[in-house]
Amino acid sequence: MKNIGIIIETDIRESDAEELDKSEVKAICFGMITLARQKNCELFAFVFNAEIKDLKSELESFGITNLVNVVLAPEHQNNPAVRAKAMVNAVKDFNIHAVLGLSTPMGKDLLPRAAAQLDAPLVMDCIHVDLENFLAKTSHYSGKAIATIKTAGETLIFGIRPNAVEPVMAQASARILKFDGTDLVATKLKVIKTGKNDKSANINLAEADIIIAGGRGMQNSENFNLISKCAERLNAALGASRVAVDEGWVPYSMQVGQTGEKVSPKVYIACGISGSIQHFAGMKTSRMIIAINRDENAAIMSNCDYYAKSDVLKIIPRLTELLKNG
C-alpha cells in the first residue's frame, strides 16, 4: 500500500450577501487526482488553511480517501518558505511516497522548494505520470520533444500541467486529518506585500478552458479590446504573442510561448499570430487550435485544427455579437 499526496488548489467563490463566501476546489485539480489513482493506494489531498467542509464532497467524488488540512499561522500562510516547510514535514508525517501538484504559479514555487529540501527528484510540467514505474513525460527543447524521465528517490514529486488529463469521477469517502504547522516560521524570507487575486482581472491563462490570443495582426492596443470583449463573453483568458507584448500593446503576463506561459486549454484561438516555433512551444498541447490569419501560408495555418483565411479585425466583432445573442 502506497500513500500518494496531492496538493489541492482552491478558489473563493463569492456567494449572495446572506451566505459566507465558500472555498471550492479549482477545476484543474480533478484531472490530476484522476492521474494519481492507483490500485492499492491511499490518496491524501493536502489543502492549506482551508474550510474542509466546503471541499470534502467534491474531493470524495474523485476518489480522495484522506483530506489533510495543513494549518499555518495566519501571519505566515502566504510565506512560500513556510508553506514548503509544512509540506515537507507533512509528507514525512503521512509517509507519502509520491506527491502530485500542479504546474501553476503556486506549484512552480512550492514543488521545487519542497523537492530541494527533501533532496527528492522532481519533474515539472508533466503531461503524464506513471506512478507504478516512476516515469513522467514532460516537454523538452521548447516543446519540440517529449522526454520520458525515470525518477529514483525516497519521495518523488511531479508538477502536472493543468488540463493535461481528462478528469474522471470515482466515488470514495475521506477521513479528515490535520497537520499542525502553526509553529513554522521562515527567518530568511519575509513577505512584505502580497498582490491581491482580483477576480475581475484576467482569467488565469494556465487554468483557462478557452484562450483567445492576439499577435502582430491585432495591430495596436485598441484592437486588443476587441478580443478582450469576445473573451469576456466566452469566459476565456486573454493571451498574446511576444510581438504584441514587445510592442507594448499588452502586459508580459499575457505572453504565451517559450519565454512566456505554457498552456493546454481545450480551445486556443490564435488571432493574427503567425505560429513561430517559440509561440508553438507554449500552446502546442492545446486540445483544439483555431487560427484566424490573413495569410494562408502562415505556419499556424498548417498546424491547427481549424483555420479561417480572413481579417481577424472583421471576424472577432462578429463572433462577439453572436455570443451576445446566442
Binding site: P105, P112, R113, A115, A116, D119, P121, L122, M124, D125, T138, H140, S142, G143, K144, A145, I146, T148, I149, A152, G153, E154, T187, L189, V191, I192, K193, T194, G195, K196, D198, A201, N202, I203, N204, D209, I210, L234, P251, S253, Q258, T259, K266, V267, Q278, A281, R287, M288, N303, C304, D305, Y306, Y307, A308, S310, D311, K314, I315, R318, L322
Partner: protein
C-alpha cells in the same frame, strides 16, 4: 559584493532538433546562453555598476557553467554582456538538476565567498524549473524564483515575485540568497563589438568535473526516452464571409469542443 551567475549552454530555440539514440539530440546545432540567464547577467552587472548610497564597491560578477567544452562560447557571451570572469565546469555528459546544483555549489565554494547567486527562472532545453531551489537548499540560503524586480538594500534583497496574470508578491530576503530572473526583470544589454573584443581578454577558469569530487546521490532523474512531439493535426478550412466564419466558429465551440452551451 561577489555575485555568481549560473548560465546554461542550451540549443537555440529556433534550431530544429534531431533525436539520436532515443535519449539524446544531435548537438551539431547552434547553442547559446539560456535566454532567462541573460536577464540574470544583466541584473548582476547593474548591481555591480550601481552607485547607491551604501555603494556596493568592489563587486565582481562571475559566470558559472556546467557544460561541455563548447560552453566556453556561452561563457564568452556572458563576459561580453558584462560578467568579469567565468568558470567552466567541464563535463561531456548531461546531468540532472540534483547533480548540477551540487556541481555549481562545489565550484562556487572553491572560488570564493558568495553574496548573491543569480540564475534564470528556467532553462529552455530541459525546462527543469528547479536548479535555483536546489542551490539554495545546498547553501542554506533563501530562494525566490521568477523575479521581476530586484533591489539590494541594507544587506537584504527586496524582490518582486511574479505569479500569474501580473499578480506580484514582494519579499525581503537576507543576503546571501539565490534569485531566479524572470523575463520582466530587465532588458538584456546586448554586447557591442568592442564589448566582445574586450571579453576575449577576460579569464575563463576551467575545472574538470572529476576534481570537484561530487558524490552521486540516490535521488535522480534520468531521461529514458526522447521523442519528437507528434503533430497529428489535420487543418480544416472555415470558409465564407466574416459572418459565416464567426457562425461556424460558434458551432465548433458548441458542438465539437463543447466549451460553450
Amino acid at each position: 559584493m561577489q555575485i555568481y551567475v549560473c548560465v546554461k549552454h542550451v540549443p537555440d530555440s529556433a534550431a530544429s532538433i534531431t533525436i539520436i539514440d532515443d535519449t539524446g539530440i544531435d548537438k551539431n546545432i547552434t547553442f547559446l546562453l539560456n535566454p532567462f540567464d541573460e536577464h540574470a547577467i544583466t541584473q548582476a552587472t547593474k548591481i555591480r555598476d550601481s552607485k547607491t548610497e551604501e555603494g556596493i564597491p568592489n563587486s565582481e560578477v562571475i559566470a558559472v557553467c556546467l557544460g561541455p567544452d563548447d560552453a566556453q562560447n556561452t561563457l564568452q557571451s556572458a563576459l561580453a554582456m558584462g560578467a568579469d570572469r567565468g568558470i567552466l565546469i567541464q563535463t561531456s555528459e548531461n546531468h540532472d538538476s540534483i547533480f548540477t546544483a551540487k556541481a555549481l555549489k562545489a565550484a562556487i565554494d572553491q572560488d570564493g565567498t558568495v553574496d548573491l547567486i543569480l540564475t534564470g527562472k528556467e532553462s529552455i532545453d530541459t525546462e527543469g524549473m528547479q536548479t535555483m531551489f536546489r542551490l539554495g537548499a545546498l547553501f542554506d540560503f533563501s530562494v525566490a524564483n521568477s523575479i521581476v524586480k530586484l533591489e539590494i538594500e541594507d544587506g537584504h534583497a527586496i524582490v518582486d515575485h511574479e505569479l500569474s496574470g501580473g499578480i506580484v508578491n514582494t519579499y525581503q530576503m537576507s543576503l546571501p540568497c539565490v534569485i531566479g530572473a524572470g523575463k520582466g526583470l530587465n532588458t538584456p544589454k546586448y554586447p557591442t563589438f568592442p564589448d566582445i573584443v574586450k571579453a576575449r581578454k577576460k579569464i575563463i577558469k576551467k575545472i574538470a568535473l572529476a576534481d570537484l569530487n561530487i558524490e552521486d546521490s540516490s535521488a535522480s532523474m534520468t531521461i529514458v526516452k526522447l521523442e519528437p512531439l507528434q503533430q497529428k493535426r489535420n487543418p480544416v478550412e472555415i470558409k465564407g464571409d466574416a459572418g459565416q466564419i464567426a457562425e461556424q466558429i460558434v458551432q465548433i465551440l458548441k458542438q465539437e469542443a463543447k466549451v460553450i452551451s
